[in-house]
């Protein structure tokens, strides 16, 4: 846990107004991305709110065995799992792929300055393929990939979130990537 986090966490537990927001809001983008990858953009917003609310309600019981980020990510994953079961994977993939057309994410605005229209179109198509490939993965494979690539969590942190060992994380991650390579055709991006 970061030094600042522990101080903020103590402030949250003391009930200082705004401390929770200071601690949790910087994680909002990451969690939203994770949730959007799992359930699609439409439901991700609601799930994000639900995650934050759950975290706020139970933050006083948080013992600090892991980082706050890991803890709230775990809440997000558990919140999303119930929703994932209700949705068809393809619809999630289409939703994610459809997002690319709206060019609403921050990377587009940065990247669009450096590429030609043809390159941009190609890039967009690649993203769509990746989104579809991930949507076809098993839930546990998709989760672990998103946790690693979007949240940038270490194997140990991922293990903390998913309640598995770092070795299991390594093998599961390897398996998930191989699966994605296979889905992308020819095995490679």
């Amino acid at each position: 846990m970061l030094k600042g986090d522990s101080g903020l966490l103590a402030a949250v537990k003391r009930g200082r107004p705004g401390a929770f927001e200071e601690l949790a809001v910087p994680l909002a983008d990451r969690l939203y991305s994770l949730l959007a990858g799992m359930v699609g953009k439409t439901d991700a917003e609601d799930l994000l709110q639900e995650t934050f609310l759950k975290a706020f309600k139970s933050v006083r019981d948080f013992r600090g065995g892991c980082s706050f980020a890991t803890w709230i990510t775990k809440i997000a994953i558990n919140t999303a799992r119930s929703q994932v079961r209700k949705k068809h994977p393809v619809s999630i993939a289409e939703e994610i792929a459809g997002d690319e057309d709206s060019s609403g994410d921050r990377f587009d605005s940065v990247a669009s300055d450096a590429v030609t229209p043809a390159e941009a179109a190609e890039k967009k198509e690649q993203k769509k393929q990746v989104a579809l490939a991930l949507a076809k993965l098993a839930d546990e494979e998709r989760e672990i990939l998103l946790l690693r690539e979007i949240d940038g969590l270490s194997y140990e942190e991922i293990g903390g979130v998913l309640d598995i060992s770092p070795d299991a994380v390594r093998s599961r991650l390897h398996r998930a990537r191989q699966h994605v390579f296979g889905l992308l055709g020819g095995g490679r991006v």
Partner: protein, 526 residues
């Protein structure tokens, strides 16, 4: 893979999860193995693609929803905290009331006992004997039942006392009555009919003498009426007393036992140096100090000093003085409890608003702008009284599309979120004003905090005065930067009212070119 190398090691290497031998092993392998080198490249590429595809920014509406949810929960918690404080205050009030009542009662009892001491000199002796008739009265129904017995007992009760019955027995009865206020086990061995008669007579006299029925007098009257009604009991008591009349040596032994704390069992026959009357008076006085039972016990627990023969009067006076001192101490303690409890319920001097305001300043690192200071100085000139009264000007300088989630202090202009931010929402909680201002210059501006493309609808300055902890009529000065610091508006803005403020198209309000700059100067009460 054709080379047969452990692929999971390659993935772990890309994820920077390898160290030591494993890392060396991978590095040594990919130097010469082209397929594994390609695999590493592919893994890196896939990671980048996934990031680009899925990394999104949480929409403002989601953040607002979170804030609303948290505020809702916080309000509930706040309500609980409020209820807790109410209960605590009520409990403190009850404690203070009870303590005060006890002190009042204690002082009242002291006064009454003093009155009793002054007004009933014979009461001391009467009290010594008063308990026995009462005991006899309780036992009366068991022992009587025949009219003859009643008449005989009545006659014997009214008969004049003999010389033998007076004196030692009476003294013994009086002393024992003090030493053992409730002798349930012993069937009144030290009681005598003369003592009862004497008590009855004196009490009757006393009842006549006393005017309004004060508590002690009331008790006496009840007892005064007892002899007639309790005649049979008194008669049986008389028989018992006649059979067990204590003699003088025994009385002395009891006196000594009483004062030395032997409490029974050990009987000393040593004569006491003090006269009997003095013993009685002193003991009785002592017994009436506040609560006879307790104090008798206190005296009885004085350590025995065999061989030491102090005058009884002196000993009693010492004990009495010690007890009075103790009473005074207890009263002082009880008195001291009152101010402490009062402090507990006393209002706290610094208000929560002040604390929050100070915290806001400290945390936000409020930026003092020259303009704000100038306004503050101007304000101080025009309203010197307010300044003297403690009102203070505070200013916040904000840039960009300031939303409630925007940081007040933005350390970097590159759009990176600062590690130490305080959102305007928090500032609002702490008593600041929340301002939202669009980019009036560029049609396609971008919010520096959210990196969201602005639409034309947002090219309007909106001044949100949310639920700031300002008084309803707190003056709010809105400064707008044009060709210099010009006071755009000054006046009262109602709390929670959204005030749209259109920017003049031909007068850009910014010098930085991309983002608007607005300074809000608020005046609140510190």
């Amino acid at each position: 893979m054709s080379c047969g190398f452990d692929e999971s090691l390659l993935h772990a290497y890309v994820d920077e999860e390898l160290s030591g031998d494993d890392k060396t092993k991978v590095l040594g392998h990919i130097v010469w193995c082209e397929s594994c080198r390609k695999e590493v490249e592919n893994i890196k590429k896939l990671s980048k693609q996934i990031k680009e595809t899925f990394a999104k920014q949480a929409p403002i509406s989601a953040l607002e929803g979170i804030q609303r949810g948290i505020e809702g929960v916080g309000t509930k918690r706040g309500m609980w905290a409020f209820k807790y404080h109410i209960v605590a205050a009520a409990a403190a009030l009850v404690i203070v009331s009870v303590v005060s009542l006890e002190i009042f009662r204690a002082s009242e009892q002291n006064d009454l006992s003093e009155i009793a001491r002054i007004r009933t000199p014979a009461l001391r002796e009467e009290e010594e004997t008063a308990e026995k008739p009462k005991t006899a009265a309780e036992e009366a129904p068991k022992k009587t039942g025949k009219t003859e017995q009643i008449e005989t007992a009545f006659d014997s009760f009214l008969a004049p006392p003999t010389a033998e019955e007076k004196g030692p027995a009476e003294s013994a009865a009086a002393v024992e009555a003090q030493a053992r206020p409730a002798p349930a086990a012993e069937p009144a061995p030290a009681r005598s009919a003369p003592a009862v008669r004497k008590a009855g007579a004196e009490v009757e006299d006393l009842a006549k003498a006393m005017t309004p029925p004060a508590p002690p007098a009331g008790a006496i009257k009840t007892q005064a009426g007892a002899p007639l009604a309790q005649a049979p009991a008194a008669a049986s008591l008389t028989k018992e007393v006649e059979a067990n009349v204590p003699r003088a040596p025994k009385t002395e032994a009891k006196d000594e036992r009483l004062l030395s704390g032997a409490g029974g069992g050990e009987k000393k026959t040593g004569a006491l140096s003090a006269p009997r009357k003095e013993e009685k008076r002193a003991t009785t006085d002592f017994g009436r100090g506040t609560q006879p039972g307790k104090e008798s016990t206190k005296v009885a627990t004085q350590p025995a000093k065999p061989g030491v023969k102090a005058p009884v009067g002196d000993m009693v006076r010492e004990a009495e003085a010690a007890l009075k001192g103790k009473d005074a101490g207890a009263l002082a303690e009880a008195g001291a409890a009152k101010p402490v409890a009062a402090q507990a319920v006393a209002p706290q001097a610094p208000s929560g608003q002040q604390t929050l305001a100070v915290a806001a300043d400290k945390q936000a690192g409020v930026q003092e702008t020259p303009a704000a200071n100038a306004v503050a100085a101007e304000k101080a000139k025009t309203e010197p009284d307010k300044e003297k009264a403690g009102a203070a000007m505070r200013s916040f300088s904000m840039e960009g599309l300031v939303t409630e989630w925007s940081p007040i202090i933005r350390l970097s202009a590159s759009g990176q979120r600062s590690a130490r931010v305080m959102t305007l929402r928090q500032a609002q909680v702490l008593g600041a004003i929340v301002v939202s201002v669009g980019d009036p210059v560029h049609r396609e501006g971008m919010d520096i905090t959210t990196r969201r493309t602005l639409s034309w609808n947002e090219q309007m300055v909106k001044i949100f005065v949310l639920e700031a902890k300002l008084a309803q009529d707190a003056p709010v000065h809105i400064m707008q930067r044009t060709e210099g610091w010009v006071k755009a508006e000054e006046g009262v803005i109602p709390i929670s009212e959204e005030v749209p403020y259109m920017v003049m198209p031909n007068k850009p309000i910014t010098e930085t070119g991309r983002y608007a700059t607005i300074t809000v100067v608020t005046q609140d009460r510190r």
